[in-house]
Amino acid sequence: MRVALMVTCVNDAMFPGTGAAVVRLLRRLGVEVDFPEAQTCCGQPMVNTGYLDEAVPAVRSFVSAFEGYDAIVTPSGSCAGSARHQHGLVARRSGDAALGMAVAEVSPRTYELSEFLVDVLGVTDVGAYFPHRVTYHPTCHSLRMLGVGDRPQRLLSAVRGLQLTELPAADQCCGFGGTFALKNTDTSVAMGADKARHVAQTGAEVLVAGDNSCLMHVGGLLSRQRSGIRVMHLAEVLAATEDER
C-alpha cells in the first residue's frame, strides 16, 4: 500500500512535531509513509472565507501531489473534511472537468489519522505509552463532517499509563473556526474561554485533539491564563513510547 502523509499547512509551518509523530507512529506499525513535497494546503482557509477562486491553486497542487497513492493520511479532521467535502465544490467552480475527475479520484482516499488507524490498518492499540492524565476534545469537523465517532477515544484508551478523563460539553465548538477566530474575535474568544474552563475542570495535565489549529486556539487561552495545561496532538500521544523516556 502506497501511503502519503498530508501534513497540512498549519502543521508544516507551526507544528512539525505532529508530522514527525505521524511518520514515527506509522513506521512503528509497519507502514512506510511518503511525504510528497508538491503538497501545500487543502484550500480550506480560502473556501471557508468565501474565496473559492483563490482555493483552486491549492486544490490543484493537492491532487497533483497525491495522485497515485492508495491512501492519504492527515493529522487533521478539518483538512480531511475539506478534501472530502469541499474539493469537489472548488473544482466545479473552476469549470475544469479534468480537475473535477482528479478530485473525485483522490479525495475519497483521504483519511484523518484515527480513521486510517482504526478503519484501514484495523488497530486500536498502537503500542503507545503516555503516563499522564489526559482529556480529549473532539473537534467539530472530525466529529460532524467526518463522523470519526469514538475512534480517537478508543485509541487513547489503549495507551498504557494514560488516564482519560471526560471533558464537559465536549461536543461544543472551541470557537476557532479558521478566519472566524479573527473576523469574530470576541465571540471566538468567549467560546474558547468556556472550553478552556471545561478543560481545567477535568484536572487533566494535557488536552488532546486531532486538529492543531483548534489546539492552538484553546492552548493560546490556557497559556494566557498560566493554567499549566499542555495541549498535544493525538498523533504525538500515540507516537510516544516507553523507550523514549
Binding site: 512535531g17 471557508n48 483552486v56 469574530n184 467560546m191 494566557r224
Partner: protein, 499 residues
Amino acid sequence: MTGTFVGMPAFPEAARAALADTQLRHNLAHATATIRGKRAAVVGEVEDWESLRLAGAAVKDRALRDLDQQLVTLEEQLTARGATVHWARDAAEANAIVADVARAHAVEEVVKVKSMVTQEIGLNEALEAEGIAAWETDLAELIVQLGEDLPSHILVPAIHRNRAEIRDIFRRRMATAGRPAPADLTDEPAVLAAAAREHLREKFLRAKMAVSGANFAVADTGTLVVVESEGNGRMCLTLPEVLVSVVGIEKVVPTWAELDPLLRLLPRSSTGERMNPYTSTWSGVTPGDGPQEVHVVLLDNGRSRALADDVGRQALRCIRCSACLNVCPVYERTGGHAYGSVYPGPIGAILNPLLKGTGVDEQTDALPYASSLCGACFEACPVRIDIPEVLVELRSQVVDSHREDRVPKPETAAMRGAGWMFGDAARWARLGRVSGLVGRVLGRVGGRAGPGGRRTLSRLPGPAAAWTDARDLPAPPRESFRAWWRRTDGRLDEEDQGR
C-alpha cells in the same frame, strides 16, 4: 423588505456588546441548555429520527419544486371555502393589504397570533402608523412588546429576559396597554402567567379583528395550520369576526397527508414536546362559527429570490423550530439581537442574506460569517438544512459581489496572496524558511517558555494582534516539517528535529 432591525451594527460589533452583558449570557446559557436537554430526550425516543428528517425534507422539497402550481391550488381551495386570497410581493404590499382590511371594518385594534412573518414585514409598526394598535397575545411576544424590546429567539422571543425582569416590565407597562398588573405581582412563573392571562382575556373579548401567520398551508385542502403551546392563538383564530392570515409562500405543503412528518418533527425539535398542545386548522369561512371574513395574504418578500439560489433554496424548508439556535455556540453567547433580524441564529445567518440578497448592505453581509462552521445546526435541523454548506456558499457570494471593487479589502489581498503561494510548493517552502529564521531568533530572545518548553508569544503587531489580544501563540518552529523531511528523509528521532 425590512430584513434587519433598523440601525443595527454589523455582527462582530453587535456581538461584542452582547458578550459584555453577563446577565444576558447567563440567561441564554441557562435557557438554551434547558431546551437542548428537553429536545435531546424526546428526539432520542423516536426510533428512526433520521428517516423522519428525510421524510420532512422530502415533503418540503416536493412543495418547493413546483411551488407555482402548489400556490395556485392553495388559492383555488381557499377561495372555494370562502377566503379572500391576496398576493403580496413585499412587506409594503402585505402591510397595506392588512391595513385596508382593518380600515374597512373601522377597527382601532387587532389581536395577533405569534407570527414570525408579520414581524419580518414590520406589520405592528405599519399598523401603528395607521392608528391601529396590534396586540401580541403570545406570552413571550407580550413581554417583548410591553418591554419595547426586540425579539431575540424564534420560539422564545423573550429568552434574553429572566423572571425578575419580566415582573418589572409587567408592573411598569401593563397599565398603559390595558388591564394593569396586580399590585402583589411576584416573579413566580405561575403568578406572571396569571397576570398575563387576565390582561389578555380583555383583549380577546374586545377585539373585532385578528392577524395570524401559519406554520403550514395545505394546498390540496386549502387549510392553514397554526401550532402553539398556550392557546392564545386559538382564541384569536376563533373569537374575532375578521381574520387576516399572512403566509410566506414557502409554507405550502402539497397534501394533508404530508403534514404528518412535519407535525411530528416540529414539536420535538422546537419545544422538546412529543406533541404540541394546540393545533388549529382553518379553511375559509364556516357560517355561524368563527370569523365570518377570512383574508389570506400570500407573501413573497424575497422568497422567490431564495428559491432561485441553487444551494440556498434548501433554507426555504425551514419550519421555524429554532433547534439550530439552541445548539449554536455563537447564538448561545451573543444572543438574538446581534443578528439584527427577527430571524437570528444559524437559520437567520442564511435566511436574511437569501431573502435580501448579498452585497446590498454590510449588516447582512456579515451574517454568513457569524458562524464557526461547527455544524451543530445541521445536526439538529429536523428538515436537514445543511446550514454550513449554505453559509459557505453565501460567503462566496459576498466575496463575489466585491470582486470588481476598485480597492480590494486587505482580506482579499491576503487570500489572493495565499492562493498564489499555495499554488506552488516551492513558494510555500520559501515562506517556511523565513518563518524558521523568525523561529530561531524568537527561540533565543522572544516570548516565554510555555508548558512543554515551547516559546510562546503574547503580543504581536498589526493584524495578528486580533489573535494575541486574548490568546498566546506558539513561536514558529526553527525548522518546518518540510525542511526536516528534506534534511532527514524523516529518519531521525524527535530530539534531532528542530522544534
